[in-house]
């Protein structure tokens, strides 16, 4: 049985069916991501001064990933245009580059950026103990400059067992540069190239800590939002890559041989989805990495 309106437009909508379907789907996606972005913005606006982490993400890596996604949007359109020109070889080349870009994005995110966060540690100091850790926080200096105070000390946790063992009474942290030299503006975040933790070790008593954890979703509303939104976005990238892989299989070539316009239409709806996913990243990047 032939499925109607896969190539020709319906008279009532003026569109072929898949195009109506993809736009309805993208409308629901706008609501999904829109809700998450709104939640992030309101959480951030409601945060107390100094409570919201800042400059913890790797800007050059994020910029590189953004460039990769923009490039993939270009290649997917070129793949579609190649099909329109009935050039199957070029279509395959451009589609392969698109898949490669998507996979590279995911590898960078899952094998580099996320694990880097899991290795980092932060301890929020209780209000009444902030003075005790002034040599690391440098809040007097910040106050003089009219800047928000620091309430968290971050770095690499030396005694990881302290997180689960109640008998260990303190955290030993190899400090991030900003806490090793808190009055030096050059050490302050953001850094273009991420600076590794220093060799200066701080001992923080657990009784002075309001909350401490590795940079996991439970660390803060910031990281909960970061992992939720980038994770959901990553799932969309993976979905797009799988669809593109399907479009490289012999089954798709058979569709092309039967009716090239049918495959071109399929690539167009997949390309629309891909553009939407990339557009979401265009908003994720400045929101999390820059602002």
């Amino acid at each position: 049985m032939e499925i109607p309106y896969t190539v020709s437009a319906r008279r009532d909508t003026g569109l072929w069916n898949a195009k109506v379907g993809i736009w309805l789907f993208l409308a629901s996606e706008v609501m999904l991501f829109g809700g998450l972005f709104s939640a992030y913005i309101f959480l951030r606006l409601d945060a107390e001064p100094g409570d919201w982490p800042h400059g913890l993400l790797n800007v050059p890596v994020g910029t590189g990933n953004t460039a990769i996604l923009i490039a993939s949007s270009v290649t997917v359109v070129l793949a579609w245009a190649a099909l329109k020109m009935r050039d199957l070889t070029k279509y395959r080349i451009y589609m392969a580059i698109t898949i490669l870009c998507g996979v590279t994005f995911l590898v960078v995110k899952l094998a580099y950026e996320w694990p880097q966060k899991f290795e980092h540690f932060g301890a929020f100091i209780k209000e009444d103990a902030l003075g005790k850790y002034e040599p690391y926080l440098g809040n007097k200096h910040l106050l003089e400059k009219g800047l928000s105070p620091r309430k968290e000390i971050t770095g690499h946790l030396h005694n990881k067992e302290a997180l689960s063992d109640p008998n260990i009474k303190e955290y030993e942290i190899a400090l991030d540069p900003v806490y090793a030299d808190p009055t030096n503006p050059a050490m302050d975040r953001p850094h273009f190239w991420p600076m590794p933790a220093t060799e200066k070790i701080a001992t923080i008593e657990k009784s002075d800590v309001k909350y401490a954890n590795m940079f996991l979703p439970k660390h803060s509303a910031y990281f909960a939002s970061y992992f939720t939104i980038t994770g959901l976005h990553g799932a969309h990238v993976l979905g797009g890559v799988l669809v593109f892989c399907y479009m490289m299989l012999p089954a798709s070539t058979r569709i092309y041989r039967h009716n090239p316009e049918h495959l071109a239409n399929r690539v167009e709806v997949a390309g629309l989805f891909w553009h939407f996913v990339d557009l979401v990243w265009i908003f994720v990047f400045p929101l999390f990495y820059l602002l």
Binding site: A67, A186, D188, W193
Partner: protein
């Protein structure tokens, strides 16, 4: 909207992002004073120009191939 229209919109938004990153780099350079941000700003503005040129060429090519009418 077709993929051509969405692609042009995407390139416009990407161009705005590149300009935004450039401005952000200048702002950080002025406040933190790391000269590497100046290079970042230049790279961002050059990227914005490249995107604009690409967008115009894409539109012209689609029109020439009668994929945009």
């Amino acid at each position: 909207m077709s993929i051509k229209g969405f692609h042009i919109l995407f390139i416009v938004v990407s161009t705005l992002l590149a300009l935004g990153i450039g401005c952000w780099c200048i702002w950080v350079d002025l406040t933190v004073g790391e000269p590497v941000y100046r290079t970042g700003a230049i790279a961002s503005f050059v990227s914005a120009v490249v995107l604009i040129v690409y967008g115009v060429l894409f539109y012209r090519k689609m029109k020439r191939l009668r994929l945009i009418t």
